[in-house]
C-alpha cells in the first residue's frame, strides 16, 4: 500500500518537468525532511507589509451627495414610519387576537374547572356522606332550638349548640 508521502511523490514525478525553483526546493526538502508534504504554490515567495501614509489624502466635500444621502435616509425613515403606522394596527390586532383567543380558551377551561370543583364540593357535602361521617364520629343532630348563631365576626365557629 502506498503511503501518503509516496503518493505525493509519485504525483510530483508525473507533474511534468520541474522548474528550476521547484527542483531546488525538492532537493532541499529531500535533504531536510523526507516526510514533508509537497510545497504549496508560490511557497518560495515571501510577502512583507509596507506602511503607506495616506493621511494627506482628503476626500473633497460634496454637499450635493450628502444632501442626497440625507434625503434618502429621511425618505427611508418616513417610509418606515408610514409602513409601520399602516401595518401596526393590523399587527396589533393579530397579536391581540391571539391573546384574546388564548384568554377565551383559558376562561372556558377555568369555568369548566370551577364547575368540576363545585361538583366535587357538592359530592363531599352530600347529606348521605355527612350522615355517614356523623355516625362514624358518634355525632347526633341537635334538637330544635338548641342551635343558635353567634353574632359578629367570630374567629372560629359561627353557631353553637347549647
Amino acid at each position: 500500500m502506498a503511503t501518503l508521502p509516496a503518493f505525493f511523490k509519485k504525483n510530483d514525478s508525473t507533474a511534468g518537468s520541474p522548474r528550476g525553483g521547484d527542483a531546488q526546493t525538492k532537493r532541499i526538502r529531500a535533504v531536510r525532511d523526507p516526510f514533508q508534504l509537497r510545497a504549496l504554490p508560490h511557497e518560495h515567495l515571501f510577502l512583507h507589509k509596507k506602511q503607506i501614509d495616506n493621511s494627506r489624502l482628503v476626500r473633497e466635500a460634496d454637499p450635493k451627495s450628502r444632501g442626497a444621502c440625507w434625503s434618502a435616509i429621511g425618505a427611508a425613515c418616513v417610509l418606515a414610519v408610514l409602513l409601520t403606522s399602516a401595518f401596526a394596527p393590523s399587527v396589533a390586532t393579530t397579536i391581540a387576537g391571539y391573546k384574546l383567543e388564548a384568554l377565551r380558551i383559558e376562561e372556558r377551561r377555568l369555568l369548566e374547572e370551577r364547575r368540576g370543583l363545585e361538583l366535587q364540593e357538592a359530592e363531599l357535602l352530600s347529606p348521605a356522606r355527612l350522615d355517614q361521617l356523623a355516625q362514624q364520629n358518634n355525632l347526633v343532630a341537635p334538637s330544635s332550638g338548641q342551635v343558635f348563631h353567634l353574632e359578629g365576626k367570630p374567629q372560629g365557629a359561627v353557631a353553637m349548640a347549647k
Binding site: 377565551r104 357538592a122 334538637s143 332550638g145
Partner: protein, 704 residues
C-alpha cells in the same frame, strides 16, 4: 444588435407581465369568490361554544344536578383494523386491549358504524388522540356535556334523569327540559398554520340553560327518604312515599318515594320500572281513613255538625242492604263526633257522610282538589279519581265517606292537610322557587273552607294525636294534628279487598300556626303493624321533627311528655282500618277507566244517627267529661281525659343580660330573638311577661 436584443427582452418582459396580469385578473376578479371561499375554508374553523344544561339547586342553593363538559372518543368499527385499533387506542386511552378488541369486534360483527371507545377523556388522552386524528380518519372526538347528580339517589324522583343526548326523560329534567337545555353558540375563528385561533370572524353566543332553584330542602329530603326506606323495609311494604310541604305557600320541601334509583346510572334495557315511579305523585291509591278529613270538613260546612255532636256508631257494625260495614273499634255506640273522628270510626264517618249528602260530598271532594292534577311541572302526574256524580252507586256515599271508591295521591293529601293548616285556603303546590334569578310567584290560594270550620278540623286532628289513632306521631315539644289511614288493597284478580294495606298518615305542626305539613304513605303493608297509626305515623314524627328543627320553629309544648297523656298506646287504639264487605261486585275505582260509565244516580236517603247536640261543647283535644245522652245501646265511649293545655308561654325578661346570656336563654326556651346593637339588653319588644304568640320573635335592643 443591441437594440434588437433590448426589444426582445422588452417583449419577453411584456409577455411575462401580461401573463401575470392575466393570472391576477383571474385570481382577484374572475375567480375571486371561489378562491376566497377556499381560503376561508382552510384558514377558518368553526368552534362550538358549549352551553351547559341549567343547574338545579335546592332551596338553599346546594346543587342537585349539574352538567360538566366531557370529551368522548368514538370510532367506526366497520372501517378499522380491529387489532391495530385495539392496540393503539388501548395504549393511548389506558384501556384493556383485550376487552377493547372484543368490544370493537362485537360492534363490527353487529355492523355498527359507531362505537364510543371512552368517555370523559383526560386532557392528555385528548391531546394524544387529537395528534393521531389527522392521520387516522376512523377516530373521532366530540365535546359533549354530561349530567351529574352529586347526591346520588337524593330526590331522584323529583329530578328525574337525562338520556345520552342530555335530554330529560323523567322528573323535572323532562318537565322543564326546554328551559334547562341550553343553546350552543358558534365561533368562526381565523386560525394560523398551527391552527391557533387569531380572531373570531362571526360569533353566535351560547345561551346556557336556565338554572332552577327548587323548593326542596336537601336535608329534609334526605331525612324523608331515609325514613321511608326504613319504614318500607321494616313493614315489608312494597313501596312508600313522603311529601313535606309548607302550607302557606305550597312549597314542597321534600318529596320522597321508595324504591328509588340512581339517576347517574342510565336506564338499562328491560330494567324494572318500579323504582323509577314517583309514588307520591304518579301512583294513586284508595286513601282509607285519612279521607275522613274531607267527610268531616264537608259535614262542618254543610250541616249542623259540631265536634260535640253525638254520632251513633251502632256498635261498630252497619248494614246497607247486602253490604255490611265494620268498625275496627267494636263497641262504640253514641259518641261525640270528635271521638268518632279521633278513633277513626267508619260508621261515624258514614253517618256524617250521609248527612252531608252525595252532591255536597262530591262538591267538596272537587273543591279540595281531588280528581285533578296539582299542576306541578313533573311528567306523569296522576289526577287520582273521583267518580262523576252520575256514576255514584247506592253505597258510594258510604264508601267515599270512609275513603273508598276514590283514589288520591300523596301530594293531593298534602294539599288537603294544607287546607286545614292554613285555615281553609287551598294552595297550589309549588316545586320551582326560582327560574334563573327570577323568583317564581306564589299562586293566590283559594278559600274552600270557612276559617272557623278549618280551625275546628285542626282541633279535631289534634285529638287524633292526643287521644286517637295517631298517638305515635306525637312530637316532643310541639303540638301537632293529623289523621291516620289504613285502607285494604283491592285485588284485581279476585275482585276483593285483601289483607294488605295502604297505611298512611297526614299531619301538620304546630297546631296554632302550622309551619309544615307531612304526609306519609306505605303501600302493601301487612298485619296490625301495617296500619297507618303504626307504620306511617312514626315516619311523620321523625320527618316533622326534623323539619321543625331545620326551620327553627319555636317549641310550643314542654319537651318531656307526661306518660299518662299517651292514651292510645295499645295496637287496638291505632286500628283505623276501613273494613267493608262489598256485597255487590263492583269494579274497584283503581281498575276502572274513565270511559266505563254506569250512570246510576244515587240519592242521599239513608237513615241518620241521632243528631243530638250535646250540652257542653266538646272539641277534639279537650277532655270529655259530660254524660252523653244515649239514644240506644250501651253507653258511649267518651274521649279519654286529657290534661289541660299548659298556659301559653310568656316573654321572659331579658333586660340587663348580655347578648350571649339572652341567646342562651332564648335557645333553651325555644324562642326566636332579633338582637339589635351590642352590650346589655335595654329594651325588648314584646315587654316581659306579655303572652308570646306562636312564631313571634322577640326584638331585643342592646346598648352599652
Amino acid at each position: 444588435m443591441v437594440e434588437r436584443r433590448l426589444t426582445c427582452l422588452a417583449v419577453i418582459v411584456l409577455v411575462w407581465g401580461a401573463a401575470i396580469l392575466k393570472n391576477l385578473i383571474s385570481l382577484q376578479i374572475l375567480h375571486h369568490r371561489e378562491y376566497a371561499v377556499k381560503a376561508r375554508s382552510i384558514q377558518e374553523v368553526e368552534v362550538e361554544i358549549p352551553a351547559p344544561r341549567g343547574t338545579i339547586f335546592d332551596r338553599d342553593g346546594h346543587p342537585l344536578a349539574m352538567s360538566l363538559a366531557t370529551r368522548t372518543a368514538f370510532i367506526n368499527p366497520m372501517k378499522v383494523d380491529i387489532g391495530v385499533a385495539s392496540d393503539l387506542l388501548g395504549y393511548l386511552l389506558h384501556l384493556d386491549r383485550g376487552e377493547l378488541y372484543l368490544k370493537i369486534k362485537q360492534a363490527a360483527d353487529a355492523h355498527r358504524g359507531y362505537l364510543i371507545v371512552k368517555r370523559q377523556l383526560t386532557a392528555e388522552e385528548y391531546d394524544n388522540l387529537l395528534n393521531l386524528k389527522s392521520r387516522l380518519d376512523w377516530v373521532s372526538l366530540s365535546n359533549q356535556s354530561q349530567r351529574h347528580y352529586p347526591n346520588g339517589m337524593l330526590a331522584a324522583h323529583v329530578l328525574g334523569a337525562v338520556d345520552f343526548e342530555e335530554k330529560g326523560n323523567a322528573g323535572i329534567e323532562k318537565g322543564l327540559d326546554a328551559e334547562l337545555r341550553g343553546t350552543p353558540g358558534h365561533i368562526r375563528l381565523l386560525t394560523d398554520v398551527h391552527r391557533r385561533g387569531i380572531a373570531p370572524q362571526t360569533t353566535i353566543p351560547a345561551k346556557p340553560g336556565t338554572s332552577l332553584t327548587l323548593t326542596l330542602d336537601e336535608r329534609l329530603q334526605f331525612v324523608a327518604e331515609r325514613e321511608i326506606a326504613l319504614a318500607v323495609t321494616a313493614h315489608h311494604a312494597v313501596s312508600g312515599s313522603v311529601v313535606v310541604m309548607k302550607p302557606d305557600t305550597g312549597d314542597i320541601l321534600a318529596m320522597a318515594s321508595y324504591p328509588t334509583f340512581d339517576p347517574n346510572i342510565p336506564v338499562e334495557r328491560g330494567e324494572d320500572a318500579q323504582p323509577r315511579m314517583n309514588h307520591a305523585f304518579s301512583v294513586p291509591f284508595e286513601p282509607g281513613s285519612v279521607f275522613k278529613v274531607v267527610t268531616y270538613s264537608a259535614g262542618f260546612e254543610t250541616t249542623n255538625l259540631r265536634p260535640e255532636t253525638a254520632i251513633n256508631c251502632n256498635g261498630g257494625k252497619l248494614t246497607f242492604g247486602i253490604r255490611t260495614i265494620h268498625d275496627s273499634h267494636a263497641g262504640m255506640w253514641v259518641v261525640p263526633a270528635a271521638t268518632a273522628f279521633a278513633k277513626s270510626s267508619n260508621i261515624g264517618a258514614i253517618q256524617v257522610g250521609l248527612k252531608v249528602g252525595q252532591v255536597n260530598m262530591h262538591d267538596y271532594m272537587v273543591r279540595l282538589g281531588f280528581g285533578q292534577k296539582t299542576g306541578l311541572p313533573l311528567p306523569g302526574e296522576s289526577p287520582g279519581k273521583v267518580y262523576r256524580l252520575e256514576r255514584w252507586g247506592k253505597t258510594s256515599l258510604a264508601s267515599v265517606s270512609m275513603g273508598q271508591e276514590v283514589s288520591v295521591t300523596t301530594l293531593q293529601l298534602a294539599r288537603l292537610a294544607s287546607v286545614i293548616a292554613t285555615g281553609g285556603l287551598l294552595v297550589k303546590p309549588r316545586l320551582v322557587l326560582k327560574r334563573g334569578d327570577v323568583a317564581e310567584p306564589v299562586a293566590a290560594p283559594v278559600r274552600v273552607l270557612k276559617p272557623e270550620n278549618a280551625i275546628t278540623m285542626r282541633q279535631m286532628m289534634e285529638g287524633v294525636v292526643l287521644v286517637g289513632t295517631g298517638s305515635r306521631a306525637r312530637l316532643a315539644g310541639y303540638s301537632s294534628g293529623g289523621k291516620t289511614g289504613s285502607a285494604q288493597i283491592y285485588d284485581y284478580a279476585s275482585k276483593h279487598y285483601t289483607h294488605t294495606y295502604n297505611g298512611s298518615y297526614m299531619g301538620f305542626a304546630p297546631i296554632t300556626n302550622p309551619q309544615i305539613v307531612v304526609v306519609v304513605t306505605l303501600n302493601g303493608t301487612h298485619g296490625e303493624s301495617g296500619f297507618g297509626g303504626s307504620s306511617a305515623a312514626p315516619v311523620f314524627k321523625v320527618v316533622a321533627g326534623e323539619a321543625l328543627r331545620v326551620f327553627d320553629v319555636p317549641k310550643d309544648l314542654p319537651e318531656n311528655i307526661p306518660g299518662r297523656t299517651l292514651v292510645a298506646s295499645n295496637p287496638e287504639d291505632l286500628n283505623d282500618l276501613a273494613i267493608a264487605d262489598l256485597g255487590e261486585s263492583r269494579t274497584n275505582i283503581l281498575e276502572e277507566s274513565e270511559e266505563a260509565e254506569s250512570a246510576v244516580v244515587g240519592q242521599a236517603g239513608y237513615p241518620l244517627g241521632p243528631p243530638a247536640n250535646l250540652a257542653a261543647p266538646v272539641y277534639g283535644p279537650r277532655p270529655v267529661q259530660t254524660a252523653v245522652p244515649v239514644a240506644q245501646g250501651p253507653p258511649a265511649v267518651a274521649a279519654a281525659p286529657v290534661p289541660a293545655r299548659p298556659q301559653g308561654p310568656r316573654v321572659p325578661n331579658f333586660r340587663g343580660m348580655t347578648m350571649r346570656a339572652v341567646l342562651a336563654e332564648a335557645a333553651a326556651k325555644g324562642l326566636s330573638i332579633l338582637p339589635d346593637g351590642s352590650g346589655v339588653a335595654r329594651v325588648q319588644s314584646p315587654p316581659p311577661g306579655a303572652p308570646l304568640h306562636q312564631g313571634e320573635r322577640i326584638r331585643v335592643q342592646f346598648a352599652r
